[in-house]
Symmetry: C2
Subunit: 172 residues, 2 copies
DNA sequence: CTGCTCGTTCGGATTGGACCGAACAGTCGG
DNA sequence: CCGACTGTTCGGTCCAATCCGAACGAGCAG
């Protein structure tokens, strides 16, 4: 039965997506839902996702909301005033990853930098204390994070092919 | 008492490091240990880390091993045949982050790509089945991951300033 | 209005990770 | 040899996140 073989192959890929999702800080169920939607030719409703993923209705509801907020899937109100909603996987995965990156990493980096800046000014205001060592340590952190932020900003402004081009040209 | 103010500032920065550590998939204790080591002028032994972080001896032992494996701190056998070991924070944080990145992200990406490649060949071997849709889906994933890997490889070959230069030049 | 289905939200069970304390092995000074 | 100290390992606890089932509100068909 080759149909089973095909299903097995798809299953393996979906499991790979599950692992990747965990690496991005998402849950296993989120990875599976995205994987199923990615391979489904059509948008799927929550009952359909329940059947195809094996997860409970409530889990699908929560997970789809999370994925929708992240932009990894798209929510469509199918039909006129109908209640039934449908979800489809976002195809431009790269740009989605960029956004996810921004929502999490960039936020944290900015917050850290603010902390570092504030710490530096507070240390510098303690003139009569010997705070050179601490100031140097904070400055190190600040520079590292600043570099990181610069790179992240650049990564978000350009498409992956543009970035690859930029690096290749620089190499030459 | 300005000394308290200084300690408070350092504490705040260390807490920021804790949060960043969590973002990198590390534990809170790992962030604190690294932070304390970063601000300590000298290498610290496990008992000293116990006292300064407030964590149990066993926790420090586990966490230092983890951080050492990741390359975020360096372990030194202080003295000749002595048992006492000491730890110091790695200063070239950027390069360390690159390595951590490689150890985790790159590994996962490579594994995923192997899965995708294998899935493609297996799908193509089922000639009598209609697997075009699945093949296209897997191909999409493969390309996205391939782009990601290219960028990561480039990011690991160059220093941050070089990367920033490359992007800036491309912009012009 | 009634029955059916859909989607959300809540409390509770389960699981995995973080952390601790105790026990253990090894080393040095006496 | 003995006692003090260091570092590792193991069993157990605690907590947060995941996931489920049940209850609820709402629309639609009849």
């Amino acid at each position: 039965m080759e149909t089973d073989e095909r299903a097995a192959v798809v299953e393996e890929v979906v499991e790979s997506i599950e692992r990747s999702a965990e690496m991005y800080g998402l849950s296993r169920s989120a990875g599976r839902v995205y994987g199923v939607l990615h391979f489904a030719g059509e948008p799927l409703s929550i009952p359909e996702l329940v059947e195809r993923t094996g997860y409970a209705k409530s889990t699908i509801s929560t997970v789809t909301r999370r994925l929708t907020r992240l932009g990894l899937i798209r929510r469509r109100s199918s039909g006129g005033g109908g209640k039934r909603v449908q979800f489809a996987a976002e195809t431009e995965l790269w740009f989605i990853l960029q956004e996810v990156f921004q929502q999490y990493v960039h936020r944290e980096i900015s917050a850290s930098q603010r902390t570092f800046d504030r710490a530096l000014t507070r240390l510098q205001s303690l003139d009569d204390e010997d705070t050179e060592v601490e100031e140097a340590r904070v400055e190190e952190l600040r520079e590292t994070y600043s570099t990181l932020e610069t790179l992240l900003n650049a990564s978000m402004e350009y498409s992956p092919s543009e970035l690859a081009d930029a690096i290749e040209q620089y190499d030459g």
